[in-house]
Symmetry: C2
Subunit: 470 residues, 2 copies
């Protein structure tokens, strides 16, 4: 008799598989208020590692962290017309505070351009104050009618960067720098997800932006996920809020701005980009636990050997965890560590130990073999890097296999049934984009054939990447 | 002519001095919604370092991080009678979401006992699940009518720990462990603030707690600041939310709980515990910048030497910053670094450099002297540790000088005019506490003569620490 699967198989029902993984790997649960989310300790440990890596890259790109209030006066939102139109339907509004009705309702930030520009307008005086590069880690609220844990939640955690520049060129270059050096670098190098950076069409832009750049990833089911965005805001907000600087020639000029964000949605992307029917597969550079050392069963010196090996691995810089809970069956524990996607499992049992060996099992491809106990710590870093590379290679192959060059709208819809379609933007255009949307397919981004971001929507040669999306 | 002071002198107007420091050291600004706060980059870098240190101690104490929603259904708050009574006057209430009036209003969390217990009730089944130790870093909102930056703000950032235990004894021991091993250890060892841990009187307890432990610090002006609290919740919340476990004997029992928090208020405490008329004085273990290397003025090889020294210090593990902004006067830059409280300033000028020397200035006591350039990096760690120790010693001496043993209520009020009074709790009692409060003096905590926390309010020998407080 076949073993009952722990998870709904991906091929049977991918959305159900996703829900199963989120629950059984103990990543998150639904909150009591519609669309809110409880992030459980293991899920949060993944987010903490994402934060640390992204934060380091943001600081390397010259931005500094600060913190702006959760509450924004409703009137601030209204100052930029497109912005309020985009966010009004999603706002949570506080009408009572301290036991009284408020004179002016306040909104819970859906994003912070408006409140931050209020301060930029005070801080920026001269060209010497530019560029001004700030970031914050915060929670934001966008009322969500069709919530899905991590992917679309009413409250989510993110970072939002906000910058001011003297020139359009400088702002554009910085928005691109964040796209490549922060988001793409993090997602490819750490998450092992081969995202495609590109330019959003006018229709898909952030409300209030003049250009939105995006990283688009392919999930196991062939659908796209937007993993992070970087916007050029032009002078829309600086004009609405009066953020001006005096130039070298003494003229008052409006600053050019960018904003950019990546959120807990990345956890959803991680699950769906690498997961399989046994659960998560964590890329080792991100994994909160890289190696679990399991005591297979009690036996003379077994627990001691497992504990010593765990310490030895930690000493070698590996994030190792000892599992000596022998009162729970080995099989059940092994299934749990597979669910959580721990890249390497080491089985320490009495028989192998008698031969001076342990069994080392890779989560990504299930390869398994006896290793000499004395060699484990020294060899582990290399294996972890192999897994990291293999996960990226597998995701890239998957993406490429499911990406098709097409020339007609009908073919684009067909390509999007199983993956990405690539079609000349000149052959599609805004009208074609509308017709695709009627069939549930969207233009994820525009890219140049060499992978660069088109400097404008109508750049000759721009190719539209089309897909169904989360 | 005397130089105009940068700050209002402390002796002239301490609250005004505090406001001046917060503004001029660029720590924070008021938000547009009453009582909210913008934390500026330098202020936030201080908070980030506090977070990192406290987070490490929390993890060492066995708790794991997770994240619960910002929004709590109003009905949850009402389940624990004292809790809702305590927090109702301070709540911010969301009545509209996604363009509609909500069926049930939601409150913005003032603290998370109620929402977390909803999940604890699901997670805890058996004694094997205990103790359950979790923590979250989050923003909370308590509507504040008399806001002061960092000290009392409508929104603040904090960590809140929440735990479940099988027995009253275990819960009590953990609440004390957090008090000593996390809060007291951090505040004394890192912040160099000699806090006094103790037990709150019944009147001063957290709403819903059966016991509140606290760390009380003396500020430069002799007033007290509560820097962190650790509560025993008894079974109040577990009974309200049905958080039960089956014991080893198979009986269903309610868990015993703790909760504990420390917030951005600690930044206010740091400012007021160590600051002087020139600004902040940062304890080196916390300081985001430990040493600033200043180019005094342009000159042959000066900028290069300063830059090389900065790198050398960084290589030696010192958080060093180069200041080569010679277009701004040296005096103005030096005043700015003093305002920010950077523990050590190194002046690199052409004349000293010709002698192979630089001038090293300690922020804490203004001592100053030439050091051989080649010795700076090697000697710096020792100097930083001296400053750390001297700041703690100075704050301890200040506290002790301003603390008086008294025997009557009148003497207690007098002692509180300039610092702390210590009076036998048996001589004061709840009635005396009420009379003190009428004169603006509160019982900060009860302590045993040997420094331990009294196991109960009526423990013989318990001494009340009384003061005016922030």
């Amino acid at each position: 008799m076949a073993k009952a699967p722990v998870l709904t198989p991906q091929a049977e029902d991918f959305p159900r598989w996703y829900q199963d993984v989120v629950a059984k790997a103990e990543l998150a649960d639904n909150g009591p208020v519609r669309g809110t989310m409880v992030i459980l300790p293991y899920g949060y440990s993944i987010w903490e590692r994402m934060q640390a890596a992204v934060d380091a890259l943001i600081k390397k790109a010259g931005a500094v962290n600060c913190y702006f209030p959760l509450f924004i006066p409703e009137s601030y939102l209204r100052r930029e017309a497109d912005h309020v139109e985009g966010f009004a339907p999603e706002l949570a509004v506080v009408t009572h505070g301290g036991g009284k009705e408020l004179e002016e309702p306040v909104v819970v930030r859906p994003t912070s351009e408006t409140i931050i520009n209020t301060y930029f307008a005070k801080w920026v005086q001269s060209y010497r104050d530019l560029p001004l590069l700030i970031n914050q880690w915060a929670n934001v609220v966008r009322w969500e009618l069709r919530p899905r844990l991590f992917l679309r939640t009413t409250e989510f955690l993110w970072q939002e960067g906000h910058t001011c520049h003297a020139t359009h060129d400088d702002a554009r270059a910085y928005a691109e720098r964040i796209l490549w050096e922060v988001y793409t670098a993090f997602m490819v190098d750490v998450l092992a997800i081969p995202v495609l950076p590109g330019r959003k069409t006018a229709r898909e832009r952030f409300p209030g932006a003049i250009n939105t750049l995006t990283c688009e990833a392919m999930m196991v089911d062939g659908k796209a996920l937007q993993m992070g965005t970087s916007h050029e805001l032009g002078q829309n907000f600086s004009k609405a809020f009066g953020t001006q600087y005096s130039s070298t020639s003494g003229q008052l000029e409006y600053v050019w701005q960018t904003s950019w964000g990546a959120s807990t949605r990345m956890v959803g992307g991680l699950i769906m980009a690498h997961g399989d029917d046994s659960g998560l597969r964590m890329p080792p550079r991100l994994a909160p636990i890289q190696v679990v050392v399991m005591v297979v069963k009690a036996g003379e010196g077994v627990a001691e050997a497992a504990s010593a090996l765990t310490s030895e691995l930690e000493g070698a810089g590996v994030r190792a965890r000892l599992d000596d809970a022998v009162d729970v069956s080995f099989g059940r524990r092994a299934v749990d560590w597979e669910l959580k996607g721990v890249p390497v499992r080491i089985e320490v049992g009495p028989r192998d130990l008698a031969n001076g060996e342990v069994i080392v099992v890779r989560r990504d491809d299930s390869t398994k073999g006896p290793w000499k106990l004395g060699e484990v710590a020294a060899r582990m870093a290399g294996v972890l890097e192999s897994i990291q590379g293999d996960l990226l290679a597998a995701a890239t192959a998957h993406r490429d296999t499911r990406t098709h060059d097409v020339t007609t709208l009908e073919e684009a819809v067909e390509a999007a049934a199983s993956g990405f379609g690539r079609i000349a933007w000149s052959a599609l255009g805004a009208e074609g984009e509308t017709r695709l949307r009627e069939q549930g397919v969207s233009v994820r981004c525009l890219r140049m054939p060499d992978g660069r971001v088109p400097p404008a929507e109508d750049t000759p040669g721009a190719v539209a990447l089309v897909a169904r999306a989360y």
